[in-house]
Symmetry: C2
Subunit: 484 residues, 2 copies
């Protein structure tokens, strides 16, 4: 069922939150699934597809038995699963013994994890050149049947000259971890040039030195990329005490079925959850209920792969998220906390598409997007690397994401009158305090408490403990001087 | 009518010419309209749509009266024409008097020319931010009806802080030439940030200093872009003696109708035509005839806007092209020579899409693409800026170009045995001489003759004369020293 709502807003600025405030739209139910209009001046269409079971002639109650993991179809129609069945692992390991080996970095293994569980469906391995070029130039892949799927980040495996030489004319290679353990096989390989400068420029929109993923993964990587079809010998595990949080895309879909979700809204994050985030997530749920959904489920989905050095580490964040649920800030009955295994690029508008696309594959049909998603400061200039509004604009127009409902953030800040996090009200802007990530870290580091109601006490303690432990670690580096 | 041909080539490298040679494909009629296949290993589909009149049950002769300028539809369905009707020009000029003015550079005027004649259809003016972002990230625009058109280059107008200030809250601006003459009006304007670094990185895949278009147009341009709907007071003319060559997209479509073309194949160039080019164009025509087309017309379409300093100037190239037709190397009966008004970006795989897309709008349904289209040397490193094969690969997969038949070049070189330009035969590679543009210019500059059969004598004389004139101009710069 397709529902079309027309609103008059002039000029055309679909996603500008301040405009939306001005036009007094009381519910964002009219703002989901914006489809950009070409050179339109005054008429905006917002179209979204409601699941069939919400058809008014077909009450939810009677249709619950028909709820499937198909609130939203995986890209390409079927979720990719590249883990070799247990019964065949021995034979594959034996077969791989004679293959040339490619040694994977920690981040390569994170990508193997991502691909093997179908987060990047329909991708069935590291990209060959045709996929790489489409990703780089079009942020999407055209399938054999003419349909288009989103694919904004090149998911590639770099090898050096010596490895390329060693592979020679072999068709298949074995993929091994840094300790030499066999992780998987890449079949029908294709080796092509790794033009790092072009890859960086087209992915990040800058070639300035200091981009975290580039420094970590690209600068010192080999001059060749190797693509092919992936097989993984067994599910990737990290044995860091957090594997139980790492639900695969398939497991998440099953969990949404088990909970009889009729809407799933995903929240991507790589930071601690404060009460502004919580307000936003709870408000989203409230509005989904208002729209007629009976059981919207929140997927609180922290990113678990590579992050930059000054981000809060995954284990601390997971502990903090647990406290947020324990303290009742988010409702465990309607929330699933799970780890998204992807590494972080900090590539702004290009990367936010990947974050949304991967959640489609995990069964989320609503995606929350905020200010400057996947952004960071420019590495060499005193400004944001990306225009903070570009992320949601690009996301709303991205090829292959038409089926996903995009929910733009409302800006939350600390309301010094109500003494809690609240949606920013521009008519009394002087009452609001914006607490940046840097500010938050400064509070935690110096032991100063943030304003009451900024974060639940249990969650805040986790952060304070983490920053205290950092100071203990850092302390011995400083010369011990007795003050006189 | 859709015609599908399947070929077995393993591994999958659709457009690699050396592979095509190896598989002994005798006619490229089997290679047109390649549609990329996702993760296929051994089976390649090539699909092309033949015009209806070539349906075997519907002989060409009987259908000629039905030939329209619709061998291929303009992007968006209708060719954009933004020139104000003569009867209304006075009123518009009067109206513009009270508008804030934006002063255009020479290259801005070239873009006004391009947009106003519909080469960039369905674009109706300089890009607003939503179009700019789609162009930058997706190389395409999604229309209100969900269809996608190709749009790989940002077609934008930069203004500085002072101009932005002067425009204030005006909705419309007048566009004036450097001499102050009113050229047109931009209506319902939108002003947004011009992030030059990001624009350059995403368009060129590098931010290295020395890119000709960047140095000429972007580095010193303003920090804002202004988009809106364009009206042009009268057709853009240059009064350089070449305006009669500047057929609009609409005029070209009419000319193809007049000639009763049943196929139009476009050849984009910015260099003199040598006999290797001619061989290729004549061979293309021969093969189109073999495929059943009765009257294929060649659009020889030199680029007429900004080019870099060491390219041969437009007037010299036009004189050289005339000689090529006079000398009978190309047949004037089946060739239309016209100037493509766009400036040159030298942006390789990104720009070749623009070159092809603009020719769709002019009615060409076949597009010839060669090695490293729109490429150049890297400005700071000793290598090609782009992988020479990427242009045709990207073009063959580009969103919105599915309806265009892409014809990859066969490589031509000087056959020292046959003493003429011929298709390169790898089995006797020692017999072939590759004459680069640099080599050709060296011949012309030093007065040395290239090998017989490299270029028709009339065309060669034009080049020699041009390079002689350069030496005369350059001479006074050198100190005059009497040798003893």
């Amino acid at each position: 069922m397709s529902l079309t709502i027309r609103l008059h807003i002039a000029p055309y600025k679909t996603l500008n939150l301040s405009d939306i405030n001005k036009t007094k739209i009381s519910s964002f139910s009219t703002r989901i699934r914006p489809k950009p209009i070409y050179h339109s001046n005054s008429l905006i269409h917002f179209v979204y597809d409601k699941p069939k079971m919400l058809d008014s002639s077909n009450p939810v109650e009677s249709s619950i038995p028909s709820i499937k993991s198909s609130l939203i179809e995986p890209d390409g129609g079927a979720l990719v699963d590249l883990v070799v069945p247990e019964s065949e692992r021995g034979a594959r390991a034996l077969e791989a013994e004679s293959m040339p080996k490619v040694r994977l970095t920690k981040i390569d293994v994170e990508w193997v994890h991502v691909i093997s569980e179908g987060w990047a469906s329909p991708l069935t391995g590291f990209m060959r050149e045709n996929e790489y070029l489409q990703s780089l130039h079009f942020n999407s892949l055209r399938m054999a049947d003419g349909t288009v799927v989103n694919m904004s980040l090149p998911i590639v495996l770099a090898i050096d000259d010596e490895t390329k030489e060693r592979i020679g004319s072999s068709k298949n290679v074995g993929l091994v971890a840094s300790d030499g353990d066999l992780i998987g096989i890449l079949r029908s390989i294709e080796i092509y040039k790794h033009n790092k400068e072009e890859r960086i420029a087209r992915t990040w929109g800058t070639t300035a030195p200091g981009l975290p993923y580039v420094e970590e993964c690209i600068t010192s990587a080999g001059n060749w990329l190797i693509g092919g079809d992936l097989e993984v010998l067994k599910p990737i595990k990290y044995n860091d005490g957090l594997d139980h949080y790492r639900l695969s895309a398939q497991q998440l879909r099953k969990e949404f079925d088990n909970r009889q979700a009729d809407a799933v809204f995903a929240f991507q994050l790589r930071n601690p959850v404060h009460n502004g985030h919580a307000l936003l997530m709870n408000d989203t749920r409230r509005r989904l209920l208002e729209m007629g959904y009976k059981n919207p489920i929140l997927l609180l989905h922290p990113l678990g792969g590579f992050t930059k050095a000054d981000d809060v580490p995954l284990d601390v964040r997971m502990e903090q998220h647990s406290k947020v649920l324990e303290d009742g800030v988010l409702d465990p009955k309607t929330t699933i906390v799970s780890i998204f295994p992807s590494p972080m690029h900090y590539a702004g508008p290009t990367e936010v598409q990947w974050h949304a696309k991967a959640r489609i594959n995990a069964g989320a049909n609503f995606y929350i997007v905020g200010r400057d998603p996947a952004g960071m400061g420019h590495p060499t200039e005193k400004r944001d690397l990306y225009d903070p509004d570009h992320g949601k604009k690009v996301l709303s127009m991205a090829p292959g994401l038409e089926k996903l409902n995009i929910l733009p953030f409302r800006v939350a800040a600390y309301d010094t009158v109500a003494k809690k996090m609240a949606f920013f009200d521009p008519s009394r802007s002087q009452d609001f305090l914006f607490i940046s990530g840097t500010k938050m870290r400064t509070y935690a580091r110096t032991g100063e408490n943030p304003p009451d109601g900024f974060m639940c006490p249990g969650g805040w303690k986790v952060l304070v403990k983490y920053y205290e432990s950092l100071q203990v670690e850092e302390a011995p580096k400083k010369p011990t001087v007795l003050s006189t």
